[in-house]
Amino acid sequence: MLDVLQHLAGGFLHVLTPVNFAALVVGLVVGMLVAVLPGLTLVMGVVLALPFTYGMSITPSIILLTAMYVSGTYGGAITSILFRIPGEPMDVPLLWDGFAMGRAGQPAEALGWTLFAALTGGLITATIMVTLAVPFAKIALTFDSPEYFSIVLFGFTSVVALGGGSPANAFISLFFGMLVSTVGVDEIYGVDRFTFGSDILRDGIGYLPVMVGAYGLGEVLVRLEQGFASPPISGDGRIATRIPSLREAWKIRGTFARSSLVGVLCGIVPGAGATIASFVSYGVEGQYGRRRGELGSGIPEGIVAPQVASTASVGGHMVPLLTLGIPGSGATAVILGAFLLHGVQPGPQIFQTQSMLVYAIFASVFLGVIGMGLLGYFAIRPLVNVLYLPEAIVSVFVVLFCLIGAYSEHNNVSDLWMIVVFGVVGYLFERWRFPIAPMVLGCILGPVAETSFLTTMISYRNDWTVFFTRPVSAAVMALTALALLYPLFRHVRRRGAAPAATGEAAR
């Protein structure tokens, strides 16, 4: 433990160097701005920032993106409370009590509870992240290809099972992403796969155009089709934050504890992002909270539960990302992309080969949470002003960032064509209700899954039972089966509940 603390202290010093600190501050500001703007999602913001990291060294790159991720979990809460516009899907549960409290004449109190909750959730998650990551990495060092394959498979299935909407659509999205990752020259045999004689396709399709196109351009196309019709902003102009006293916070310590646990757990499970954490935490409060009957009427518990959980999920997500190289959410998928673009593969070895980088990331989460609190308290007025920018103008700049960002990777116009193609794909996915996150994860983790599967088949002479006979792999496969069966169980339960409800209604 002393060793970890020593490394962490070194990490803090590393983050406080001018370049890294500047990356942290820029990340916090941009992350919060992106989260405040309803047209921009947190993941889209992190994607747009990715190309700016090409010229940086890896440490400030990851610090920048992580800081955006941390502060992005708070920024959207401001507009939820003040204007009833959730900046992010994760802010929807917060809106019920946050806006109600604001409407009851206590917007400063509502903002204060949110800020306090984000700070608490962030600091708890950072502590748990540091505590869990090293033991996780030590265990992960013993993993072989069957374990890696089963873990990636679990990541895929939980993304599908825990996403919204139809699981079949999520699977199709995932398979589409995995298929995209197979395009190009096969590494083992040197065979062209799905290239159709095109030189552009022979180089393969990078995940960057897929991510930037689908998340960035695709989202703008969806909003353009709706005529950029964001709801008008209305408010009384009194924007202030009143932080609750420690005594007030202590009274709802149970809510803080429950929500932190939910947030960290949802973070560790691949696929359950901040949005799921926020909703589940609000749901848990609705079932077990002391004032569950008053939820929705503007009570602090209804603000604290979703906010603590969504910020607490950040540290949870970083654990599988850093120790196994498996992203659990859209934002961590982009951060993984940044690692790979700099030639660093996250995994258990990174704790030995790049320990300074790892501890600088840990330290940046701690400092990022504190910076987010300061920024949220002092810069709330200018942050809210960005809402008055016309959506058409903001969207054009988003598209340009997407295009130039993709161009800057190889200085190649063919990457721009890929962005346009995947922008249209992203639009069609949104239109036809196929989730985008599984496609992106499939595109990034598809090659990892293929390599670990083929390595296993070669090493164990095509014996596929090895996935079920090795203890860790078998346990993860069992979890995968559970994740697969959960939507089925849900479906059966809903179908069972429907006739009962109909019967009661008939009576």
Binding site: F171, E225, Y282, G296, A392, I393, S408
Partner: protein, 186 residues
């Protein structure tokens, strides 16, 4: 019936694409190496799963119609939040397919003309055209934003990030070169 056909369309398209690509995997040219799985095994497995997923959805739509299956979040809310008054879902937003078509066409034109017009001219025109397509009508603001935006992008990416952006062909190259000289970009 029409809505059912519309709901089936994406799955039929994906299914047809998956079958076509599956046929492609039969024609990968490689020499097998002992018992090692070939380069066709992995894509074929993905395509098979994709076909199954499409089949499940097609059968589902044919049997039950284009139902919107609830996700986990809906379940969490309906199970755990009797206290919160759930609001009726918003009415579907109005759609402007023509705006979408113009937006896509403008983006394609932007990429196609980048090498000819050069970054500055192409970007300024694109910004102006797309903002106007987005139903913003204040022309003085559009003019200022498009020129200032293109200049800002040029300065940041060429001067600060050292990115080599296309300067275009004559006569547009002259504009790019003049601006580069003004900004001190070499």
């Amino acid at each position: 019936m029409k809505s059912r056909h519309r709901a089936l369309l994406p799955y039929v398209l994906v299914l047809a694409g998956a079958l076509a690509l599956g046929w492609q995997t039969l024609h990968f040219e490689f020499t097998p190496r002992g018992e090692r799985p070939g380069p066709d095994v992995w894509p074929r497995a993905i395509l098979a799963l994709m076909i199954v997923a499409c089949g499940v959805r097609i059968v589902g739509v044919l049997r039950r119609g284009p139902d919107e299956r609830a996700g986990v979040l809906d379940d969490v809310l309906s199970d755990a939040l009797p206290a919160v008054e759930r609001e009726a879902p918003d009415a579907p937003p109005q759609r402007y397919p023509l705006l979408l078509a113009i937006g896509v066409a403008l983006t394609i034109a932007y990429v196609a003309l980048l090498a000819t017009l050069g970054f500055f001219c192409d970007t300024a025109l694109y910004i102006a055209a797309l903002i106007r397509t987005g139903r913003y009508r204040r022309w003085p603001v559009i003019a200022v934003v498009s020129v200032a935006g293109a200049l800002a992008f040029m300065f940041v990416f060429m001067k600060v990030v050292y990115l080599s952006l296309p300067i275009g062909r004559p006569p547009f190259a002259a504009v790019s070169l003049a601006l580069m000289q003004l900004m001190g970009i070499r």
